[in-house]
Amino acid sequence: MAMTITEKILAKAAGKKEVSPGQNLWLNVDVLMTHDVCGPPTFQIWKREFGEKARIWDKNKLVIFPDHYIFTSDVHANRNVNILRKFAKDYQLPNYYDVGSERYKGVCHIALAEEGFNLPGTVLIGTDSHTCTAGAFGLFATGVGNTDAAFILGTGKIWEKAPESMKFIFEGSVPQYLTAKDLILQILGDITTDGATYRAMEFDGEAVRSLNIDERMTLTNMAVEAGGMNGIIAADEVTRAYLAERTSKPFEEFQSDPDANYHSVYEYDVGKIEPLVAKPHSPDNRDTVRNVRGTKITKCYIGSCTGGKFTDFKNAALILKGREVRVPTFIIPASPSVAKRLQTETIDGKTIEEILADAGCTIAPPSCAACLGGPADTVGRSVDHDVVISTTNRNFPGRMGSKKAEVYLASPLTVAASAVTGVITDPREFL
């Protein structure tokens, strides 16, 4: 039977020859990831349900990143990190990356990639909706809540209904003014925030193949914004090269069969797509930058697992080089490793960090920061009637702090162009 890549991976994880959409499956989990917001309640449920003799099914498969509320004086938030720390110590967990230590890795989804946990053909489950990001490596990755995670922690298993797949094919070569963010905003506008609910979103085509891992992760990251169970891009030479630098663990690659069944197939010519935004207050509220240009903004934000990767800042720097920002602009690298690259990689003899600092940006330490609002002292948090343009993934009311604020989602190129002018600006004006 012809199967999609998602169906093949699920079949393997369920110990079956084949699976078809709608089938209920018990999957063996390869990696369970959690963080400071959902880790503590997950451990608590696990202890409550499995009792004092509770055992972790496989310590090597549990990965914990404090990343959400970490640089704050909020006592409750700090307590959460202390719970993680103690848990990691009590159970001697090999994959705990403590904040304030050399092991700190930043935003979980980017850290998973950088630390070599994203292996093609595997099943990776996380207590975070953007766990689908890891699908950029040709694996099945999806988010769950604390109860499901506690169940995995004790058993290594999760139930899932095999999803139908939707395919998104991007052909052509990606113009300089376009990024993966524009491509995913295009899809979101077309299918809306529940257009892929309970489904797999598979990305393919010449344009997708030309994207580096950073950009691929932007596509899969926002699959959940369409309600998708997972986003996935089959592994190829780009994936293998990225992994070769980070892990020596073996993995198995899967490809969709040419005659596999899809719920729907969307084809795009990237040459016909222009820079896009999602207007307040929904990621599917798509418009062209051209149509909203001139909208006054009060803040710019470049960061998060969606828009805080090295490639995102490099793109922003292409526009900010030799220019100055007109509104407060926040730079929050997703990980220390991204932050370090900003200090070492150069454009025309200047490091990217210098370019951004000289332009007047505020550069903060790596974390989730204001992507999800966070405690009152979070850097970049929106206040009052802020109008923000941001490279993050959600612009629901209050997501970045103030309920009265308006957030536009856009590519780092568009955010950088807007930072320079103080109004929403098409990056083509600067490229």
């Binding site: 209920n24 917001v37 959902c38 503590p40 309640p41 608590q44 409550r48 349900e49 499995f50 509320y69 909020d74 409750h76 938030a77 307590r79 959460n80 996380g126 207590t127 975070d128 909706s129 766990t131 988010g143 769950v144 809540g145 604390n146 109860t147 499901d148 169940f151 004790g154 058993t155 139930w159 209904k161 925030t193 529940d194 609910t197 309970y198 309600g227 169970m229 929904s282 999800l372 609002g373 966070g374 405690p375 009152a376 959600r394 629901f396 009311p397 209050g398 997501r399 309920k403």
Partner: protein, 186 residues
């Protein structure tokens, strides 16, 4: 599992995301401490913009004053209920506020799983849109065995969808209870 659930309905629109159900700034409270966890009830739906809170008129508070519980035990929503972050705090907050059932046109996957697997609330799907047929405060009755919702003022009935394969988990009261019952875990 209780088969008939009655009470006043609280009506919301489409795309009620988890930040509206429980804003991210409140996620720091303990879910297990009996006193502290009441805060989740207190802040339930506090992220819904006032104009959209309690349709059709809006401006109706889900939680009044200092209360931790709501007088509404049944929520009627539109499409894509519970979209956004994976926080299990969302169905937990509703449970703490006293919600028993949510009836929506459709759900985001993680919220639906969390509701069922954690046994916090019963998420049911309406057949078609009904959040424009019920007003906040309308007394309604839900019959779980026959999958119907009745508007008690005039007896008008609306059909609900059968929960399918997850019904045994709902009936058991959550994933762990189900796994124990079926012998998966000891």
């Amino acid at each position: 599992m209780q088969k008939i659930i009655k009470g006043p309905a609280y009506v919301l629109g489409d795309n009620i995301d988890t930040d509206q159900i429980i804003p991210a700034e409140h996620l720091v409270y303990s879910l297990s401490d009996p006193e502290e966890s009441k805060k989740y009830g207190h802040f339930a739906f506090s992220g819904v913009p006032p104009a959209k809170a309690g349709l059709p008129d809006g401006g109706i508070r889900f939680i009044e004053g200092d209360n931790n519980r709501s007088k509404y035990n049944i929520i009627i929503g539109g499409s894509n209920f519970g979209c956004g972050s994976s926080r299990e705090h969302a169905p937990f907050a509703l449970r703490m506020a006293g919600v028993q059932v949510v009836v929506a046109e459709s759900y985001a996957r993680i919220f639906y799983r969390n509701s069922v697997d954690g046994g916090f609330i019963i998420p049911l799907e309406s057949v078609g849109k009904i959040n424009d047929r019920i007003k906040t405060g309308d007394p309604v009755q839900i019959d779980l065995a026959n999958q119907t919702l009745t508007r008690l003022s005039d007896g008008q009935q609306f059909s609900l969808k059968h929960p399918g394969d997850v019904l045994p988990i709902i009936e058991a009261g959550g994933l762990f209870a189900y796994a124990r019952k079926s012998g998966m875990i000891g």
